[in-house]
Subunit: 241 residues, 7 copies
C-alpha cells in the first residue's frame, strides 16, 4: 500500500535516490529481473566446483551448442548469470580483460576473490552515480586458486557472498531448499554432477530438458575449466535419481 | 491493466529504468518497431547460407535495383535488418569498419561471431546508459568462416542466438511456423533458395512481389557474398511451389 | 484517440524515446514540417536530371533572383529541400565540405550516393542521440557520376531511396499522382523541363507563379549544374500545356 | 484552441521539439519579441543603402547620442536589429570579428552575403541544439561589395532573404504597406532618406520623435558607412512631407 | 490573469525560454530583485561624476566603515549596484581584472564603455545559455576617460544606456522624478554632491540615515576615484536643503 | 499564502531560479538550516577577538575534547560556523589552503578580508550555477592582520559584513539583543571572555553546559589563535554573573 | 503531516535541495538505511580498541569465514559499517589507497583522524553536488597512532565524532543504553571483549548467533589489527554473563 504510494510519488524512477524508508527501489526492481532469469546453480565439493545452467532455448531452429551460458574468465575461473544476459556479457568481458591484465602485470593468475570484488565495484557504481541503470543480472563466479576452491554470488547492488552451493534465477527457492537439505561437500565431482542435475531436474519440473543444460567444472586436479558434453550430461542424468 | 498504470506512471519514458516488475519498457517498445519492419529470412544449408528480404517498395518511381537491404560486411559476412533501417545502417557501417580493421590488424578475416558480439555490445549499451535511445532494429548476420556456416539473430537489447533458420519483421510468426515444419539442412543452395522464396511468398500472401525481393548467398565453395539477380529470383519462383 | 492519449502521456516530447507502439513521434512531427514546406520536384531523363522548386516569395520587395533554393554541392551534384530551410542549409553546407574534402583526399569527384549516405547518417543521429532535435527537412539530391544519373530523396529519420522522379513539400500527393501517370525517362532534357514545369503549374494551381520557380539541371554532356534562367523558364512554360 | 491545448501539453517549453503540427513554438514566441522591438527600416536605392531605426529612448536623462542602434560590421557593411538588443550585440560582435578575420586571412573585405550566412547559421543552431534559447532578435544587414548594393533580413530561425526595402519591429505592417506602395529604387540617396523618414514618421504616428532616430548610409561613391547627423535628419524631415 | 496562467504553465521556470508573448520571465523576476535593492544614484556634472548609495546597515554592531558599496574598477572607473550584492561582486571583480589586463596589454587605461560592454555581454549570456541563473543586479558604472565623463546603467538582460543622471533600487521612481525636475549639468561637484544627498534624503524619507551613505567621486581634475568621508557628507547635508 | 502557492509551483525546487517576487527560495531555506545550527558568538575588544561556540554534544560517550568547532585558518585567522558542519569544513579547508598558498606566493600572511572574500565568492557561485546546492552554513571569521582586529560574518548567499560582535545559529535573536545592549569594545580580553560566556549561558538557558563550550582567542599581543582550556572556561564562568 | 506534503511536493527527490525547513531529506532517508543495517559496535579501553559486528548471515550454505565485515585500512587502522555494504566498500577501498599513499609520500603511517576526515569529505560531497546519491552507510573507524587510541563514527552527511564507545545499525538504541550504563574505559582488552559480546548478545536477543560475530582488535602493545577467532569468541561468550 505504502509501496504503491511511493511508486506514484516517483521514488523509484530516479536511480540515485532513496525512498523515505531508505530503500533503493530501482535496485529492487532489477532483482526481480534476476528472479525471472533462467536457473543457474553452483556447487563446490572436495574435488572442485561446478556451474550448471538452463539454456532455456525454446525455438527448435536455434543451434543449442552455440549457446554458452557459462563463460570462461581465465583457465581457472568461470562465471554464469541470471537476468539480462547482455548485461552479464558486459560484466564477464570486463572480468576477462582484468584476468588477462593480471597475468601480464603480475605474471600470475588472478584470484577468484579479486574477480568478484572488481565486478561488485562496477555493480555498486551503477546504483550510486547517474547515467547508467543498475545491471539487471546476478552472477555466479567459481574458481580454484591458491586459496582453494571458491564459489561467489553477487547481486545487482554489488553485495557478494562466498557459498558452498547456491542458485539464482527462476525456481530459486525450490532449488535452494533442496540444496540446503541434500548438499554434501564430501562428494566426488561425478557424484556432485549427478546431484546438481538431479536438483535442477526436480526444481524445473516439466520445464526441464536435458538438451538445454549447460554445465562446466573446474577440478583440483588440473585447475582448468571444462565443459561437460551433452552426451555425458545425458549419461549422468540416467544414473541420477 | 497493470501495464497501462505503469505507462501512466512513467516507467516507460526513461530508458535506463526498470519497471516494478523488472522490465525495460523502452526496449519492449523498440521490439514492436522491429515487428513492423519488412520481413527478413535467413536459412543455412549444407552448401552455405542465404538472406532474403522484402524491399517493401511501394512507389513505382523508386529505382528498386538501387535499394539494398542486404549489406556486405566483409567478403564472407553479410547482414540484413528489420525495423528502422537508418538504425541498421549505423550498426552495419560499424561492423564494416571492424571487419576492415581486423584484416589490417590480424591479417585474417573476422569471425562471424566476433561481428555479432560487437554489434550486441553496442545494442546493450544503448539500453543501459543514457543519451541514446535503444536501436529500433533486429539484425540477421550470416557468414562462413573457419568455424563453418553460421547465422545469428540479435534483438534491440543485444540478446543473440545462432539459428539454423530464422525470420524477423512483419509476418514473423507465419514464416516461423513454416520454417519449423519444412526446414531441412541437407538441401542444396538452389533448393534452399526455392524453399526460402516459397515461404516468403506464402508468408506475405498478397503483399508478396517478386520484384521487391532482395536475396544474397554465401556458399562454402567460394565463401563470398553474391547477390541473386532478379532474373534468377523470378526463375526460381517459377520452380518453387 | 490512442494518439491523443499518448501525446498526453509525453511519448512525443522526448526525442530519443519510443511510444508503446514502437513509433518515434518527434520524427513523425518533423515530417509534417516537410509537408508544409514549399514544393520541390526532381526528375531524371535519358539526358540528365533536373530539380525544380517553388521559391514561395510573397513579399514583392524581396529580390527573387537572390533566393537560391537549389544548392550546388559540387560541379556534378546539387540538392534542394522542403521544410525548415535553415536546417537544409546546415546539411547542404556539410555536404559541400565533404565534397571538397573528397576532391582533396582522393583527387576525384564525390559519388552522389556517398553524399546522400553521409547526410542520412547525420539525420539518423539526431533521432537517436539527445541534445539535437531531428532535422525538419527532407532533401532531394541529384547528380551524375561514374555510376550514371541519379536522384535521391531522404526524410528526417535518414531513410533514403533512389527515384526516377519524385516530389516533396506542399501538394506532394497531387504532383506524385501526375508523376506516376505521365513520367517518361526517354524524354530529352528540354521536354523534361516542360513536363516538370507543367506538373508544378497544375499541382500548385492558383498559387503557381513563374517568377517564383527555381530550376537547375545537370546533363550527361557536361556533367555540371546549370541554373535555368527565368527567361528560359517563361519560354518553356509557354510551350508546356 | 488547439494552440492552447498544445501549450498545456508542453510542446512549447522545450526548445528542441516539434509540436504535433510540425511547428517549433519557442521560435514562434521569439518572433513575437521581435514584433515588440523598436522599428527598423532598410531601403536600397540606385546610389546605395540606408538603415533607419527608432532609438525609443523615453528617459530624458539618457544621453541619446550615446545610443547606437546601427552597428558597423566593417567599413562597407552595417546592421541593426529589433527585439532583445543584447542578443543583437552578441550577433553583431561575432560578425565584426568574422569581418576582421576575413581581411587578415584573404586580404580583402568580406561579402555582405557571407556575413548574413554566418549569422543565420548561428541563429539556426540555437533552434536545433539544446543549452541555448533562440535569439530574440531579427537583423537587417546592409552593405556594398563587388556584387553591388544589398540588404538582407534574417529572423530567429535563421531564415534570410534579400530585400529591396524592408521593415522589422513595431508597426511593421503599417510601414510595410507604405514601402510596397511608395518604394522606388531610382531615387537619389537624399530622396531615399526623405522617403525613409517620411514613412517612419507616418508609421510611428504620435510616437515619432526626430531626436530618437538613428540613421546610417553606405553609398556607391565611397562604400563606407556614414552616420547621418541629427541636424541633417531634422533638415530632411522638414523637406519630407 | 494571463500572467498567472503562464506561471502555472511553467514558462517562468526555465531560464532559456520565451513565454507565448515573447517575454523572458526569469529576467523580469530578476529585475524585481533589483527594485528591492538599496538605492544607488549616479550624477554627472561639468566637473565630473559621483556615485551615491545607501549602505542600508540595520545592525548597530556592524562596522559601517568596512562596508563598501561603491567599488573601484580602475583609478578612473568606479561602479555600484542594486540587488544581490554577491552577484554584483562577481561582475565587479571581473571588470577589475579586465581593467588590469587592459593596462598590461595596451599600456593604457581601459575605456568606461569597454567596461560596460564586457559586463553586459556576461549578463546577456546568463539569459540565453543554461546552467547559470540571470544576475540579480543592476549596475551603475561611472568613469572619466579620453571620451570624457560618462555614466552607464545596465540591467539583468544586459541592456545598457548612458545617462546624465540615474537611480536604481528602492524608491527609484521617487528619486527619478526629482532627478528629471531638478538635474542640472552645469553645477560644480560640490553643488552636485549636495544635490545628490538632498534627493536621496527626500527619496528615502524616514529611512534615510547620513551614517549609512556611501559616496565616491571622480573629477576631471585628477581623474581618480575618491571616497567622500562621512564627515564631509555630514557637512554637505547641513548645507543641502 | 502566496508562499505556499509558489512552493507548489516549483520556484523553490531549482536552485538557479528567481521566484516571481525576485527571491531565491533555496537560499532562504538554507538560511533556516543555519538558524537551527548550534550557537556561535564572535566578539572583538581592544585586546583582540574571540570566538565562542556550543559543541552541542548530547551523547556522553562522545570524546568532547576531540570536537573542534573553531578552526584555525592560519596562525592569525580562525573561523567557526553554524548549520551543516561538513559544509563548513569544505569551506574552512579551502581557506586553509588559500592561506598557505598566500604565504608561499607572497611570503606574507593572508588578510582576514581576503579570506572572507574568497569564501563568499564560493558561496555566491553555488547560488547561481547549477550542479551544487547552496552551502547550508554561515561562518564567523576572526583575525588580526596589518589592518587590525576584524570579525566577519557571511551567509549562504555570500553576503558578508564586518561586525564588532555578532551571533549565528540557535537563539541568535536572544543573544543579539544582549550583545546590542551590553557590548563594550573597551574591555580586556578576560572581561570579554566572561561577557561572552555570560551571554551564551543566558541565551541558551537550560541547554547551556560549560563542558560543551569551545572557545578560542587571538590577541594583539601575539596574533596567534589560542584555545581556551575547559578549566579556564569553568573558572571564568564562576566569575561571570 | 507537513512531512507528507513536502514529500508530495518533491523536496526529497532532488539530492542537492533544501526543504522549506532547511532539511536535506535524501540524507535523512539514507540514515534510515543505516538504521536497518546490521549492528556494529566499537569500544575503546585502556589497552586498545575493538570492533564487533553481526555478519547477519542467514543462508547456511554461505561460507561464514569468508565474510569480512571489519576491514583493515592499514596495520593500525580498521573500519566497519552499517547500511549498504557495497557503499561501505567503496569508502574503505579509498581509505586503503590513501593509507598506502601516505606511507609512500611521508614514510610514516596515516593518522586515524586523517582517514576519517577524508572519508567525511567524500560523504559531504555526495550531499552537495549532483550526479551521485548520498552514501547509504555509516562507518566506525578505529585506530592507534601517535595521538593514542581513537574511535570515530561518521554518518551519511559526513558529520563525525570521536567516541569512547558507540554503536550503529539495528538495535542501536538498545545497545547504546547498555553502553551508557555499563561502559568502563579501565578494563583490560579481554574484559572489554567480554563486555562487547555481552551487550551485543543482549541487544540482538534471539537474533544473536555466536557464529555470525565478526570481531577485531588493535592493542597498544603491537598496534596491529588482529581478527578474533570464532573459537576465542565462543570461549569469551561462555565467560561473559
Amino acid at each position: 500500500m505504502q509501496n504503491i504510494q511511493h511508486q506514484m510519488m516517483g521514488y523509484d524512477r530516479a536511480i540515485t535516490m532513496f525512498s523515505p524508508e531508505g530503500r533503493l527501489l530501482q535496485v529492487e526492481y532489477a532483482k526481480k529481473t534476476v528472479k525471472q532469469g533462467s536457473t543457474a546453480i553452483g556447487i563446490t565439493c572436495k574435488e572442485g566446483v561446478l556451474l550448471l545452467t538452463d539454456k532455456r532455448v525454446v525455438d527448435k531452429l536455434i543451434v543449442p551448442d552455440a549457446i554458452e551460458k557459462i563463460f570462461q574468465i581465465d583457465d581457472h575461473v568461470m562465471a554464469t548469470g541470471a537476468g539480462i544476459m547482455p548485461d552479464a556479457r558486459v560484466l564477464i568481458e570486463r572480468a576477462q580483460v582484468k584476468a588477462q591484465q593480471h597475468r601480464v602485470t603480475y605474471d600470475s593468475p588472478i584470484d577468484t576473490l579479486t574477480v568478484i570484488k572488481d565486478l561488485s565495484a562496477i555493480m555498486q557504481m551503477t546504483t550510486q552515480s547517474g547515467g547508467l541503470r543498475p545491471f539487471g543480472v546476478s552472477l555466479l563466479v567459481a574458481g580454484i586458486d591458491k586459496a582453494g576452491i571458491s564459489l561467489y554470488q553477487t547481486d545487482p547492488v554489488g553485495v557478494y557472498y562466498e557459498y558452498k552451493a547456491c542458485v539464482i534465477g527462476e525456481k530459486d527457492s525450490e532449488v535452494e531448499e533442496m540444496l540446503a537439505k541434500e548438499y554434501n561437500y564430501d562428494r566426488s565431482m561425478d557424484e556432485t554432477l549427478k546431484f546438481g542435475l538431479s536438483i535442477m531436474k526436480r526444481g524445473l519440473g516439466e520445464e526441464f530438458d536435458a538438451a538445454r543444460v549447460d554445465c562446466s567444472i573446474i577440478t583440483l586436479k588440473d585447475k582448468t575449466m571444462k565443459r561437460i558434453s551433452s552426451q555425458k550430461i545425458a549419461e549422468l542424468l540416467k544414473q541420477a535419481r
